[in-house]
Symmetry: C2
Subunit: 155 residues, 2 copies
Amino acid sequence: MIPQSEPPTEPMSKTRLRLWLKLLKTSGRIEAELRRRLRDEYATTLPRFDVMAALSRFPNGLKMSELSDLLRVSNGNVTGIVDRLTNNGHALRVAVPGDRRAQLARLTPAGQVAFTKLAQAHEAWLDELLQGLDADDAAILHTLLGKTERETNAQ
Amino acid sequence: MIPQSEPPTEPMSKTRLRLWLKLLKTSGRIEAELRRRLRDEYATTLPRFDVMAALSRFPNGLKMSELSDLLRVSNGNVTGIVDRLTNNGHALRVAVPGDRRAQLARLTPAGQVAFTKLAQAHEAWLDELLQGLDADDAAILHTLLGKTERETNAQ
DNA sequence: GTATAAAGTTTTAGATATAAAATATATTGA
DNA sequence: TCAATATATTTTATATCTAAAACTTTATAC
């Protein structure tokens, strides 16, 4: 066996740090582009789009706390976003029969129409922004991202 | 050739949309955990860490606009973060000889010491949070993430 | 049955984020 | 030189975001 003087390999922690920076840069770049297009083309924001997407999946409405849990944002935050959607005419608050503490947030008909357009644009934008990845790439990437779970106790 | 009735395949745009949601969820989960640890263990924030990291790479200081470009955040934003770092004793502003419009932000000695500790903790946290990925996984992931570039005109 | 605890939401305080206006300084061109 | 323009930063207005306090309503314990 011939002794080889190998090039010193990078410690694994440095490799993971570089990977994280790449991951952060990638998601940040795409997210910034989505925010820009939502603002410029539809005069809305990503948090509002996220809330509308959640409400769209539950036509009967969601309690503020349910929205907060689903989107993993704070309770107080949801209040402000739903406020703005309400001022917009895209959402409204409905009383919960039998519990005067709670309220349901729901999309208005105008909100549903608006969200349908937003969702189509959103999907088309991502199809464009992720052109560089084919079906195989996407499958591998999805799997590898899944391998990072279970290291944080948050689900 | 035998005709096969294949299962209907998902349109590529849906695949890319699901991938994006996974990417967003992954980076959000890790970022939230980093923010939590920076706050709980070091009483600081991710934006301040990012600014300190940039200043640490340039011991002679960076102009506010250079910081803004490097970190890709708005000019007004950098002002506030450097303000807080300055109040903290971790940064200071230095006049630029020959241009009274500009100022350099620099780490103080205390800021350099603090950042060294933060950076070590940060690298160790990521090593932990990305345990699920070995060196091969990381290399593949890094490459696939790279394939998403060049679709947005932002560098 | 009332005191206490729990649940649901909003409000508050502080930090971050952008875009756009305002301020101050430099540079340029006639 | 001096007006016009460009550069560098801060300020302002608005929107997010969290944690924690405040408030209302409901449920529970005794």
